[in-house]
Amino acid sequence: MPPKNFELLPKAGAEGDFLEVAMGPQHPSTHGVFRMDVVLDGERVVKLKPVFGYLHRNHEKIAENTTYLGSMPYTDRLDYFCSMTNNWAYALSIEKLAGLAVPERAEYIRVITGELTRLLNHSCLIGFLLQDMGALGTPVMYAFREREKILDLFESLSGSRMMCNYMRFGGCRCDLPAGWIEEAKQVADNFPRFLDEFEKLLCENEILMARTQGVGVLPKELAINAGVTGPMLRASGVNYDIRKVDKYGIYDRFQFRVPLGDHGDTYDRFMIRVLEMHESAKILQQALKDIPSGPIIDPKAKLRGFRPKAGEAYGRIEAPKGELGFYVISDGSPNPYRYRVRPPSLINLTILEDMCLGNMVADVVVILGSVDIVLGEVDR
């Protein structure tokens, strides 16, 4: 049965015949359950509508029916690659709402785990992007080899490899285990070596350049107006990194650059991620060197029976995929009156059609890969 909500183009007319193709929901390039209704003129894309909702669990409703702390584990399942940063964004918005302070050591731990998350997200994205281009298996395996090391660290810290559920309002759940900092230092020191290997193998690879340069160009003004954030925005040359703009946590203490792209094409989006990983490794080295001892949670922060005063707050962080924000309204009861996730994956997709128009159908797969979506976050 043809999708009801998709308006077909006028049938064969002066322009010729069009072919309507539903890419997905089960397609190797759609990273889960996501459909693109594409209208093709020959091999060129003339129309594209993203369709999602296959994974919708109404995370927001669940959170409104549970306590503030009760929805922390659900945030892990939004962008299941980056549970640490999801926790962080939620904790940050509640800290704003309730006016909680975070101890120094916890801030350092948050930066360290957050940047480790960025490393694992970007390296996996590059692996998947190459897979979308037809390099089956190998790049993903290289990326997963690095990811495993980071997941080992997360496991020894939080007890879980993917669904960490580690941050708490006003700090973190538990302190770092013995020897963790040394292991993390090793990962941070070795990561640039992996990046060099990756760069040597890929950045000047002829096939990669041919398939990505000038493909899916996203102009600066359009990117801003469409609310695109994260590496995708910076690839279009907009200098906007929430770590620098809002200086949340303790990001003002670290030296790092914000890499920017020139053309806003798929190649730039790929390269920005490689460069960002170099910067993340630098932040990690600084944070691991300076981490102080002390408490890891604000003693005043109440976890059970937590009832913030009536009011609202919007907190946001620079998650690996872009701006991850939480908007919470409290009416003074133990559960949030309104709980909203501002997901970067969903909003970055707003512009997918514009990026794909005029490109070949084979490029759609690569362009979608360079957007970096996780369907758990798109659908919630």
Partner: protein, 211 residues
């Protein structure tokens, strides 16, 4: 960035007929917001986007909130004659707040690197007068988010280029994020190991309360 009062007066001067109100937020976040009148919402949005001082070129977040009809209680002090003497007495004043749906927008500036400025506007009621102007013509980023609000809250955005359900399927009738939404109860129930855990928790908590 300018203070909200200043933004309000500048907007009212620039957009003729626009009436704004500052909604205070007393939580530690201190994020106050501007309540717009629906007729001028889009004009105000375009002014905020294009104004050289503000340049709120980036709409980060757009979302809906449901406020069903509710009885609000408020303690007030009134003068009353008690036993022939005038006294100030505390009384509970009850007011009925009519229900409405609300759309909230968080705006930032990528050029000037400031924000947020929070806009909100409200429908007349929750049933038939549930139309609001779409801000997608001002910020493309509102496109999917307004579709989401339409899908989950039932606010109809006039002027939206492509207002369809986005997360629920087309045949779905209700608006699941509304406060009075009744979940379907036709699922099959089977006892699970969690039932025992639940009982344990209840017992544990009952003992805690006693202690």
């Amino acid at each position: 960035m300018e203070a909200l009062e200043q933004i309000k007066s500048r907007v009212e001067a620039a957009v003729s007929g626009a009436k704004l109100e500052i909604i205070r937020n007393d939580s530690p976040s201190g994020q106050h917001s501007l309540l717009l009148d629906n007729a001028h919402a889009l004009a105000v949005a375009k002014f905020l986007r294009d104004d050289a001082e503000l340049r709120l070129d980036y709409c980060a977040n757009a979302t809906g909130v449901d406020w069903p009809e509710a009885e609000l209680t408020e303690k007030i002090r009134v003068k009353k004659i008690v036993d022939g003497v005038e006294k100030e007495v505390e009384e509970v004043k009850k007011t009925l707040r009519p229900g409405y749906l609300e759309a909230v927008y968080h705006l930032y500036s990528m050029e000037k690197k400031h924000g947020p400025v929070i806009l909100r506007f409200r429908t007349e009621n929750r049933t038939d007068k549930n139309h609001l102007p779409s801000l997608t013509p001002a910020w493309r980023s509102a496109e999917f988010q307004e579709r989401e609000i339409f899908d989950l809250y039932g606010i109809v955005f006039d002027g939206h280029p492509d207002l369809r359900r986005i997360l629920m399927w087309d045949e779905f009738k209700d608006f699941p994020m509304r406060k009075d939404y009744v979940e379907p109860d036709d699922y099959e129930y089977e006892p699970t190991p969690h039932d025992e855990v639940l009982e344990k928790v209840k017992q544990h908590q009952a003992e805690e309360v006693k202690a």
